[in-house]
Amino acid sequence: MNDLCRTYRTHVGIVRRRRTDVQALGGISFEVGRGELFGLLGPNGAGKTTTIKILTTLLLPSSGSARVLGFDPAREAGEVRRRVGHVFGGDRGLYDRLSALDNLRYFADLYRVPVREKRARIESLLELVGLKGRERERVETYSRGMRQRLHIARGLLHDPEVLFLDEPTIGLDPVGAREVRETIGGLRDQGKTILLTTHYMYEADELCQRLAVIAGGVFVATGTPAELKARVLDRTVIEIEAFGVSEAVLERLRALPGVISVSTEQRDQAEVVLVQSSVGSELTHALLRELEGTTLGKVIAREPTLEDAYVELVQTA
């Protein structure tokens, strides 16, 4: 991909229509090698799905160019479609009132799977995604995890050289997500070229050989998971469970000497303040002093993770 941009146009109003342009991709460039599992990491609205849709021929870029296996997805859509598989995350994209078998048969015909191979291919994919024995049940009776695995089977029907996985574990319970990750890991080990989008750090860390962090439609960092983590290895992270911390208090924390960044996240009932500081700076007492009057829970000091690197990258983007 070379300097790829995509802008969406929306209109507001009925009589006096006003046009608004929203930039989803602001010029991204990257390459993925054959047999590589490349991850696109980013928050909602960062441009991950837009990137995948351009590469799978579903969207035209506003400017810039892309090549998939040497073909231009904008102009040579047919060539690209024959060679790539596309798997969405979420509940949609299947015929609910039909069985998994009917869904796979239909898409096998649409994706030109040779008649002689169709049956065996479907059988082996059902085996691969763990749906063997349940294939004659209607999809509407499936759990979300089963649907997701059926999506993967559908995406693999025509044995694509490149597989695009768009948030494949979104909304799954931990067991279902682990099963899907195992399936993806198996595909990586078979040598498939995979572009995976996710906003789960541990997923990217576990599966991807290289990553790009995308925020606001531009890449803010690329590298292996270890390289991204190394960006924050000179730091310590202090997690403080707190309730009702105001923005003014957070500003005071940010102003403390040695503090690199301060963010908050919601975990179940508690709000957690995450403070990144330079290794060696003893900040716990100063932080607690600033938080006096606030109801506090656990306070933990730990080494940074890929998630901390990601939060840092996205916040400073």
């Binding site: 021929t57 579903l58 994209g93 609910d96 009132r97 994706y111």
Partner: protein, 254 residues
């Protein structure tokens, strides 16, 4: 491509048959249309006029089933999230969409048979067909002509999200312009011109002429000709409109 077409038809008929609400409509509508034919024209004493009215009502039902069936099916693809997958399939998009329209056409073919059967059963509408062979050819020709007009309509449904609303809105204008609702002789001349470009007009003429008239084959020929023209126009429109939808990014919108 033939395999994708046949598979598409099968899948959409099965998908349609598993919705009890849609199915009940298909069973009830023919009774309603047979009743309209019987009471609206008040042709109880003229068996041939009664049969003509029943055939007209049957073609009206067929058009409704095709236009609503295909628009509903297209809108469903958006709601199910399958429209993007269908567009991303390597087979031409017309081969994906045409089976939806032709499958709706076959349901419409059943609609014709059911309307005539209920008319016979409840209102004793005579079913004397003058040219049985021509009638047997006219029926699939009519299905094809209406199904392919559905394909042209379907191309716009790809572009617009409210496909079903558009489909419903298209029912009456086509009924009127093809002379199914009121005789064309009572309408301004330009409406007749519009009718000549519409499949249901030639489909109805082919069926009526084979049942009651003297020369059904020219109308059957016109059904096939307009079907071929619709297929070409529909395929081109689909190609253009899919590209517009890809440029706008509107394929996944519901």
């Amino acid at each position: 491509m033939i395999r994708a077409f046949v598979s598409g038809m099968r899948i959409h008929v099965v998908q349609f048959s598993r919705n009890p609400f849609d199915l009940s409509g298909v069973f009830l509508w023919p009774i309603l249309y047979a009743s309209i034919a019987y009471y609206l024209l008040d042709a109880k004493n003229d068996p041939r006029l009664l049969l003509a009215a029943s055939l007209g009502a049957a073609v009206m039902l067929m058009w409704s089933l095709v236009v609503i069936g295909s628009s509903n099916a297209l809108e469903n693809q958006r709601w199910l999230g399958t429209l993007e997958l269908l567009v991303a399939a390597p087979v031409p998009f017309a081969v994906v969409i045409a089976p939806i329209c032709v499958a709706s056409g076959f349901v419409g073919g059943y609609g014709i048979a059911a309307t005539l059967a209920w008319g016979r059963l409840i209102y004793h509408v005579p079913l004397s067909i003058d040219h049985p062979v021509a009638f047997a050819v006219a029926l699939p020709a009519c299905i094809l002509a209406i199904g392919m007009l559905g394909l042209v309509m379907a191309s716009t449904f790809v572009l617009y999200r409210a496909a079903l609303s558009l489909g419903i809105a298209l029912q009456y204008p086509v009924w009127i312009a093809t002379g199914l609702l009121v005789p064309l002789s009572t309408l301004p001349a330009f409406v007749r011109w519009i009718g000549w470009f519409l499949g249901p007009y030639w489909g109805f003429r082919a069926i009526r002429e084979s049942a009651l008239g003297s020369a059904p084959w020219p109308d059957i020929g016109m059904c096939i000709a307009v079907s071929a023209a619709y297929f070409v126009v529909g395929t081109l429109c689909l190609r253009v409109f899919v590209r517009v939808a890809r440029a706008r990014g509107s394929l996944k919108l519901t």
